[in-house]
């Protein structure tokens, strides 16, 4: 998959069975198109995070298929799937500056340092943090780190964005403000998004459609 390919039909899951050795769920079928937000809700331990890890390629499915723009992702390694994944924790690379964190995917794809930094600076401004560009990653508040993590994922121009309960460790007003930003962004950019949460009110706020595990 190429990061610059325009998104056509989005992500489709067919008879997908997830788990480590035993199935965690029955066969799953759903799809998410450009600009849509599919919210997956369920109790702790029901397999929400495992599902996202499977879609990203971290874990192999026990059965079924994952299709991105109707291309079967079976056997495609994580770094070639063009699927962005944002975890509950921001997981910023501590040895890199904020700008280099955001521009990481651009450097990896072969862009020059200047070009990647210029784009990263734009994205940092977009998430409203340009005034703290010189800070270290560990000096950021939870909300600021969450915004940087989102900017980093967006910089890669993912074909699909997976959000694994991001910002759930933050206070409620900050979390809701960030989620509103996410909704605005993925709708505007047309990025198919799968969001995992155990909070039904959050699901209703974001969702184009909801799947309950």
């Amino acid at each position: 998959m190429s990061n610059s390919d325009p998104i056509k039909t989005g992500l489709r899951v067919h008879n997908l069975v997830i788990g480590y050795q035993q199935p965690l769920t029955s066969a799953l079928n759903f799809s998410v198109g450009p600009g849509e937000i599919l919210v997956i809700v369920g109790q702790s331990g029901c397999g929400k995070s495992t599902l996202l890890s499977t879609l990203a390629g971290v874990i192999q499915p026990l059965d079924g298929g994952i299709f991105l723009d109707e291309q079967n992702l079976s056997g495609v390694p994580i770094h070639k799937r063009s699927i962005g994944l944002v975890f509950q924790d921001p997981l910023l690379f501590p040895h890199l500056s904020l700008i280099d964190n955001i521009g990481y995917s651009l450097r990896v794809s072969g862009q020059s340092k200047d070009a990647s930094r210029a784009r990263a600076t734009e994205l940092l401004e977009w998430v409203g943090l340009s005034e703290i560009a010189g800070q270290k990653t560990w000096q950021l508040s939870g909300g600021q780190a969450g915004r940087v993590a989102l900017a980093r994922a967006i910089a890669a121009q993912p074909a699909v964005l997976l959000l694994d309960e991001p910002y759930s460790a933050l206070d409620s007003p900050t979390r809701l403000r960030l989620l509103a930003d996410v909704k605005d962004l993925v709708t505007r950019e047309g990025i198919p998004t799968i969001h995992v949460t155990h909070d039904h009110s959050e699901a209703e706020m974001l969702a184009t459609s909801i799947v309950t595990l």
Binding site: N3, Y20, S53, A56, G57, V58, I59, Q60, P77, I78, H79, K80, R81, S82, I83, G84, L85, F87, D89, L91, F93, P94, H95, Y104, S105, V108, S109, W138, R152, A153, A155, A156, P158
Partner: protein, 433 residues
């Protein structure tokens, strides 16, 4: 596998040296290459323990995140994993440097004389052969300065960055290719670790005419070595190890209690011997206890005192975490139930403390059994310890001397490993966890 790769680190250095000489024979002559290989063999455990400990707690989601951003596995390793391991790599490199810098046994046995002569050898020769104490002191000061510099540089390079507290369950490797790579790595590591030890064992049961137990039978013979009885050396080493165990357990235990009480300066003082070579420590002890009423040279106490000093940092490192694991509120509960302060302390900490002291004593005895540098400096010509005896045997020509050194090495390996297994059993008791 972790326990297996730790074996080289706990083997006496002269035993490792004998293993390498026996393994490579004439294929690799004595010299720099063999000295470096043997040091790599001993210190591989340091790197695996220090770097592996940090690696095993890295949040794997960081690597997954880099992958989802388009980084290939190699790129992830170089740009995310390695920087995250930087502190432990720097620490491991500095510890290995210091161990190698102050190493003696391997250089003496596997070196080629002037080409591989080290500062430690200059120090030993100035003290024990030339009796040139000013040169010895200058060498010791130079050594201390360089070790201190390494510590300072290491601390400067290491960054004090906060790390994520979350430990993510690492993905279990599955599939034929990864399993093959892991199996191959384990096989190579096993051969690398066990090769020298197996070679020593073979040397002890073989001769030019084939397998034999003659060298074991001849162990009781004084004449076969012309440099003293191997059995007497064994008895001497066991005696010194026992005294060392008692001194180290008492002093180390007292220091551990003080460290537990948050006396940071004591904690710092206790680890100083780690950065000082055994010969330098021996020289210090020799100078301190060689005059007036403190002249202990004739008592035979200098070696166990030096060995205890070498072992104390290890004892403190083992004892302090276990003692800190005890809930101090138990002490106050005992006090509230009417126990006197000493009784209350023993009620709260006694079970752990006694076990810790037993484990610490065992560790100190293991250190003493294999220690070579200080023993070479402080032991009399007619009363060597086992490692000193092994080195002397290796400097003699003939199959008999080499094989007897092999027999003594096998015994030393068995004794050291037995002690460490006992320590491990004590340390893994439920009361410690």
């Amino acid at each position: 596998m972790l326990a297996l790769v730790t074996v080289p680190f706990v083997l006496p250095t002269v035993v490792v040296a004998l293993g390498f000489r026996s393994l490579f024979g004439n294929a690799i002559p004595n010299g720099l290459l063999l000295v470096v290989l043997a040091h790599a063999y001993i210190n591989i455990a340091v790197v695996i323990r220090l770097v592996g400990a940090q690696w095993s707690t890295l949040d794997q989601r960081m690597e997954v995140t880099a992958s989802t951003l388009g980084a290939s596995p190699l790129r992830v390793f170089v740009s995310v994993t390695l920087p995250a391991l930087r502190n432990s790599i720097v620490l491991a490199a500095s510890v290995v440097f210091i161990f190698c810098f102050s190493s003696l046994g391997i250089v003496v046995v596997l070196g080629d004389g002037s080409g591989t002569r080290t500062l430690e050898q200059v120090l030993l020769r100035s003290t024990s052969v030339l009796l040139d104490f000013p040169t010895a002191l200058a060498a010791a000061l130079l050594q201390l300065t360089i070790v201190s510099l390494v510590f300072v540089i290491s601390a400067r390079i290491s960054r004090n960055e906060p790390r994520a507290k979350v430990v993510f369950e690492r993905v279990v490797v599955r599939g034929a290719k990864p399993t093959f790579i892991v199996a191959l790595t384990c096989l190579v590591a096993t051969i690398f670790v066990l090769g020298p030890a197996a070679s020593i064992f073979w040397a002890s049961i073989s001769s030019t005419s084939g397998p034999t137990l003659q060298w074991w039978v001849d162990l009781v013979s004084v004449e076969n070595t012309r440099i003293g009885s191997p059995l007497a050396a064994l008895g001497r080493s066991l005696g010194l190890a026992s005294v060392t165990a008692v001194i180290a357990a008492i002093l180390g235990g007292a220091i551990a209690i003080a460290v537990m009480s948050k006396k940071a300066i004591i904690s710092t003082l206790a680890i100083i011997p780690l950065g000082v070579s055994a010969v330098t420590l021996g020289l210090g002890i020799l100078l301190a206890f060689s005059r007036g009423t403190f002249d202990l040279r004739a008592t035979g106490a200098l070696i166990p005192i030096t060995h205890a000093l070498i072992a104390i940092p290890i004892v403190v490192a083992v004892a302090t975490p276990s003692l800190r694991n005890v809930d101090p509120r138990q002490y106050f509960v005992a006090l509230s139930l009417g126990a006197a302060p000493l009784r209350a302390w023993w009620t709260a900490f006694g079970a752990v403390f006694s076990g810790v002291m037993a484990a610490a004593g065992g560790l100190a005895a293991a250190v003493s059994l294999g220690e070579f540098g200080a023993a070479t400096l402080l032991s009399r010509a007619d009363s060597p310890t086992v490692p000193v005896q092994i080195e002397r045997l290796l400097s003699k020509p003939g199959e008999s001397a080499f094989a007897t050194a092999g027999v003594l090495s096998v015994i030393l390996i068995v004794l050291t490993m037995s002690l460490l297994l006992i320590v491990d059993r004590i340390a893994s008791r439920k009361v410690f966890t």
